[in-house]
């Protein structure tokens, strides 16, 4: 049997903040994503979405628990994990003085793609994401939408099995956001597992096969939209969310602000 | 509801200033690095420097040295004195050499070779060093062959060894002392004694210790203060301007109902305060360390600093410099678009302020009215002289007025820079404007390269061989640079052909004639009017006369060759490069006036001498104007060649211009010349596309 694309077990992350003491950003997270599905991580700011995604992509190390990507343990072989992973977030910028083509070639070579194959792939990506018109200009002169497209191309350059996106539509205009959504859907058709975080409910409704609701570091519920509706008895996703939050014990952690001390995008 | 009353500009400035100071004080890390750290580091630096020097001296003084000697030939008394002197000079072991044969052959061989010859043959060299053997130096004395009762000494040493050098210098000192003693004895033995005995002058410095220590302090303070002001002021200015621009808060500020001059003044005040605070803290720290004896300030002759406290009021004379440097910092950081750019501009600011201040190090200069107007030099000199007890009224007033003027001008420019629109549109909006500035930038860059190449490479070539070097610099260096400039032209200017770019076309005959008629006037103007004036205002020192060898080379040249080298070659090559290539690039990006000025500046700088800058730059202006007016390079070449020919031949007395009444009637020819040039030609009335 093929290993699950994403699997976590009791994943925890605790930060030490000088002012607030120990901050439990992520607590006992158990997550499983199936191959070819789009999984949305939904929650307010500071819920622990970014921290979870960073742990999965080896940027942060878990305080305790396990995380596996395509069967590879994050702690054991981070390089192997990065090779199967495509990651995109607001804080993964592009090197401003390189051109789009150069960035793609750079990443391709570092992933070990052979030269002629790399060139073919780059050309394909330039067309797929219509980067060709500005492929040879420096990235510092590109607009936000153009940069987003180059970033996506970079993320899928090596045809990863898993795609992790952290709030992919933040800061994009209408057209660019719509392009992003279409892209995510196209990935599903290609069979890639996509995990993305968002706080925009409409996106979650539209794209996700399953949704995980996260708040204050805990995964409150996982399931498809209908399952969640059934669980809480509410119609609109907003109300579903509120109900789930209330169901979690409100007296616990009262007054504790679980803002992640590290700056997110 | 009553509308809130408009706050007065002064109130607004104060509010701004307080906010800036608050922000600065909260940036603790930068506060530490910019303000407090120098207070710790500078004393440390001075202390360690002093320590290193004293340790070095101590080490050398205590070294045990060995001096081998061969003094058989000497007078007994002299030998005894010599030995005694050497033993007294420190830990010295004297070794007498038995065989005189080796040393005398060494002496002969060394005499046989003149000092200008090449290195001796390797075999001989190794023999020589072997002779030295274990000893650090070898001292050989003989009686002088041609003089009775006179002696010659040679001390052989190895410059590569510290001990050897030290031994040699001690030997020289001892022998030198003996030489003086013997010389005085000789002079006394003249009939009538030493004729100049009454002429031994004793020098007494009647400056009081307060004055001396004041002068010493005054040499140190200006540059130290500048560095402190820069350190503290820079961190404030960078934060207040470049930092705000990066943090995007500058736009927000500029759309408030506050005039931009108020913003400028508020920030300027904060920068000035930061600089002065840094200076104060560091002066206190330095003062404490000095008074505790931890640090010996360089520049003070004795370690003590006896200064009446009232003298310190002279420090007020330096305030205008503080104000000016704070203003300059604000201006440069205000123009910077990011923190990084701002950091870079600190270097030119520092150079601009420190270089003039170095004048205080010359004891033969004092605060004259002329110097007191020079930015930073004036206050520095007045401070030093003030601490030394001298006060000059007129220079002080001039300094205050002039520096007030400079500061006001800089602040006015700063206000202009803080224009909201300018800040928001940090890039060139129009593509065409961008392309034009590309062409101008290209021209400037290559002109700069040309100046540097001529200075570094050309001057070396000319030292190697004047004639060939000059020829190579002109035809080779400038030629290659011209071609390179043409090859690397930015895209928009490539539409123009090379000859058009260089203005290589044949001009109207009348224009050519007109240009030629200008030559006598030009020569007269330079030689008879300007140069005498310059030698009054900016005199050349006696030692900087033309090298005799160079003159001889030039005299030996055939006149035709001389003219070719000194007149025709510069004319063609310099015109091609400066008026052709550089002016061609510049005028496609800048207004004609600016292009002319820039080109003249580079042309003047290329001749690498302060004394020639004004003549050559003005020549450059004229030739450039000629080129632009006639749209052709040839009149300029002609004028340049003609001018050079006349001046060179005249200065070498090859032609007699007096007889031709050149000086009196020549300039009048310029009038018809100008008229011819001013005429509208048929070609000019057609539109030219460049």
């Amino acid at each position: 049997m093929l290993p699950l694309p994403i699997r976590t077990k009791d994943l925890c992350k605790t930060f030490e903040d000088p002012k607030r003491g120990s901050v439990h950003a992520v607590r006992d997270l158990n997550l499983e994503c199936r191959p070819g599905e789009i999984f949305g991580l939904l929650g307010p700011n500071g819920a622990g979405k970014t921290t979870t995604l960073r742990m999965l992509s080896t940027i942060l190390a878990p305080t305790s628990g396990e995380a596996e990507l395509a069967g590879i343990r994050v702690g054991d072989d981070p390089l192997g994990v990065r090779r199967c992973l495509g990651f995109l977030s607001g804080s993964t910028g592009l090197y401003p003085r390189l051109t789009a083509r150069e960035i793609l070639e750079y990443f391709g070579r570092l992933h070990g793609l052979q030269e002629d194959f790399l060139q073919e792939r780059v050309e394909t990506l330039l067309d797929t994401f219509t980067i060709r018109p500005f492929a040879d200009g420096r990235c510092e002169s590109l607009s936000t939408g153009q940069r987003q497209r180059v970033s996506i191309a970079r993320a899928v350059l090596h045809d990863p099995e898993v795609l992790i996106l952290d709030e992919p539509t933040t800061g994009l205009d209408i057209l660019a956001a719509s392009d992003m959504i279409q892209f995510i859907q196209s990935r599903k058709e290609a069979g890639t597992c996509v995990l993305f975080s968002t706080h925009i409910l409409s996106e979650a409704e539209r794209l996700c096969d399953r949704i995980g609701v996260i708040d204050r570091g805990r995964l409150l519920a996982v399931g498809s939209l209908d399952e969640l509706r059934a669980q809480t008895g509410k119609e609109w996703l907003e109300d579903v969310f509120r109900a789930l939050v209330e169901q979690a014990d409100p007296s616990e952690d009262a007054g504790e602000q679980d803002q992640e001390p590290l700056a997110t995008a | 509801m009553t509308a809130p009353s408009l706050p007065s500009p002064r109130h607004q400035a104060r509010v701004l200033w307080r906010c800036e100071i608050r922000q600065l004080l909260r940036d603790r890390r930068a506060l530490f690095a910019g303000v407090l750290l120098p207070a710790l580091l500078y004393p440390l630096l001075f202390w360690s420097q002093g320590k290193v020097e004293s340790v070095a001296e101590g080490i050398m003084a205590e070294r045990e040295l060995t001096v081998a000697m061969n003094l058989d030939d000497l007078d007994a008394q002299l030998e005894a004195d010599l030995r005694a002197g050497l033993l007294e000079s420190g830990e010295v072991t004297l070794v007498d050499l038995e065989s005189a044969a080796d040393t005398s052959s060494l002496w002969e061989k060394e005499e046989a070779q003149s000092t200008d010859s090449d290195s001796p043959a390797p075999a001989l060299r190794s023999t020589r060093l072997d002779l030295l053997g274990e000893a650090d130096a070898l001292l050989v004395g003989r009686s002088s062959p041609d003089q009775p009762d006179a002696y010659q000494f040679r001390v052989f040493f190895d410059v590569q060894r510290d001990d050897s050098r030290e031994a040699s210098s001690r030997a020289r000192k001892v022998v030198g002392a003996l030489a003086t003693k013997w010389r005085n004895a000789r002079l006394e033995s003249l009939p009538g004694g030493d004729p100049a005995a009454h002429l031994s002058v004793e020098s007494t410095d009647i400056a009081s210790p307060e004055d001396k220590s004041g002068a010493g302090l005054g040499r140190l303070l200006p540059i130290f203060s500048l560095l402190m002001l820069l350190s503290g002021g820079a961190f404030a200015a960078l934060g207040a301007f470049a930092g705000e621009r990066e943090g995007k808060t500058l736009e927000t500020l500029l759309v408030q109902p506050v005039p931009s001059w108020v913003v400028a003044m508020g920030k300027y005040g904060a920068v000035l305060c930061a600089g002065m605070a840094t200076l104060a803290i560091n002066l206190v720290s330095l003062g404490l360390c000095t008074s505790q004896g931890l640090v010996d300030l360089p520049g003070l002759s004795d370690g003590s600093l006896t200064l009446p406290p009232a003298r310190l009021l002279a420090a007020l004379l330096y305030l205008p410099a503080c104000a000016l440097i704070a203003a300059l910092l604000c201006l440069f950081c205000g123009k910077a678009r990011s923190y990084r750019e701002g950091q870079f501009t600190l270097i030119p600011v520092m150079l601009m302020a420190v270089l003039p201040s170095l004048l205080v190090l010359r004891p033969d200069l004092e605060a004259t009215p002329l110097l007191s107007v020079v930015p930073f030099a004036g206050p520095a000199l007045l401070l030093r002289d003030g601490l030394a007890g001298q006060f000059f009224l007129l220079p002080t007033l001039l300094m205050l007025a002039s520096h007030g003027l400079w500061t006001w001008l800089v602040l006015r420019r700063l206000t202009g820079v803080l224009d909201a629109e300018r800040i928001l549109s940090s890039k060139d909006v129009s593509a065409e404007a961008g392309q034009r500035s590309l062409s101008a930038g290209h021209g400037k860059a290559w002109a700069f390269v040309g100046v540097l190449a001529l200075y570094l490479v050309g001057s070396r070539l000319q030292q190697w061989s004047f004639t060939w070097g000059l020829g190579l610099s002109l035809w080779g260096l400038l030629g290659i640079l011209t071609l390179l400039l043409l090859r690397t032209r930015p895209a928009p200017t490539r539409d123009v052909s090379r000859t058009q770019f260089l203005s290589l076309r044949w001009p109207e005959g009348t224009q050519l004639l007109g240009a030629t008629l200008l030559i006598p006037a030009l020569v007269v103007l330079m030689v008879k009017v300007y140069l005498p004036f310059q030698s009054q205002v900016l005199p050349l020192p006696q030692s900087a006369t033309v090298d005799a060898g160079l003159l001889a080379t030039l005299e030996a040249l055939h006149p035709a060759l001389l003219v070719f080298l000194m007149a025709i070659s510069p004319a063609i090559c310099e015109e091609l490069f400066f008026r052709g290539a550089v002016l061609g690039s510049l005028r496609r990006g800048l207004s004609p006036m600016r292009a002319l000025l820039w080109q003249a500046l580079f042309f003047g700088a290329a001749h690498a001498s302060l004394y020639r800058i004004v003549p050559t730059a003005s020549l450059g202006l004229l030739l450039g104007a000629l080129t632009l007016r006639t749209r052709s390079l040839l009149p300029a070449i002609l004028v340049h060649a003609g001018y050079n020919t006349v001046v060179v031949l005249n200065s070498m007395d090859r032609i007699a211009l007096e007889g031709v009444a050149f000086w009196s009637y020549g300039p009048w020819l310029a009038l018809p010349g100008v008229l011819l040039l001013a005429r509208r030609t048929p070609q000019a009335s057609q539109a030219e596309d460049n």
Binding site: L79, E102, L262 | A33, Y151, D158, P195, S203, Y611
Partner: protein, 453 residues
Amino acid sequence: MSTPQHLSPLLGAWMVTKKELTESLRDRATVIYAFVLPICMYPVMFWVMLQGALVLQGQNEKTEVTLGIAAAGVPALEHTLATEALTVALADSLPEGSESAASDAEPTQANPLQLAWATKPLDLAQAEDWLLTGNPGDSEIDAGVAAAPDAVLFLEPLTLLHTSTKSASNLARERARARIQKHATSLRLQAARAAGLDPADLEPIKIVAVDLAERGAKGAVVLASLLPLMLVVMAVLGSFFPAVDLTAGEKERGTSETTLLLPLPRSSIITGKILAVGTLSMTATALSLFALGLSAENLLAGVASKVDVKVAIPTIALFGAIPLSLFFSLFVSAVLTACASLAATFKEGQALLGPVQMVFMLPAMIGIIPGIQLNYTWALVPIVNVVLAFRALLMGQTLIGPYCVTAVALCFYAWLALRLALHLLSRESVQLAGKTLPLARLFKTLRSTSSTR
């Protein structure tokens, strides 16, 4: 799809270096810093100094100064010393030794010295007064000179009074002294000739120092005292800006996370950055030295035309200097990059590296103390060992053993710095920090266990 190959860490580091260099060289600021500034700085500075010296000397030679002459007991003019010869000597306004080769009609008056004879007898104290105030008591000064003297020559005993804090006084003193000296020499020569002696007999003892080493070794010694310290300074300055740019600058540009996602071990990434910084630093140093060499010769030629300063650099120096500079550059880059990586913004990075630069200067100064030689012990101390090694190289000393130890020690320290940088950069609080790490937390960070590879 072809299987991607896993890159070796070294190859990965090399690719990171290439990319960093490409990026840096496209930045105008870096290009100016690493190329233009080194080439231009020294020539411009030397040129300014030279021209400044010429201008000031020219101005000085034209400045008129007044020498007051006073004597005790008699008005100065009636004193026995006020012979014609003395007057003539003092009033001789041409500088000694130079035959004016000017072809101008009128000879230029350089170094003018006006004489002011006191018409009343003055004792030494009064003469000092005259100098200080311009008018001693009620004595009258020669009507020809109204201004106060800049220096006073007191006759018998011959004393030259001046105030060192006043520029005109210094000038007057120099000129008077030079002229009196010249007169004394001519008197002595005359007396010698009158007594039938050869003037050379007046100097019975002469000594000449002969350097047995190769010609040019002297120049090498001069270099050896200047160059090593300068090399250290240049290496540090050259690494400074790129180090901050590649670490803190990357955080500012928002690409640090992107870099972290590269399928390379962190050590490769850091090694790549350090190599890039080292390359830029070495380029800047080499260009600085080149420009310095060219312009220093110009400066020397301009200042002292006949001084023969030939510099012969021993061949061992050239062979040994290159690897040593490489290792040292690596060491400096590693240390500076490690320190700069603690900063979150460019500004903080600059502030951080300021003190670090000082830390490099102080040991370097130890290396120039004479008498300290490169031996096996010193070869182990960083920075000092480089200075000593360069000095030894320039002096032509073949101390192969200590050189090798120096090289190895430098590599070791560079590796240590790299490990430190790696350790720091693996800490998430450093990698992703929005703020610069305060030094107080540095130790805590070093001990913390959470890290990524």
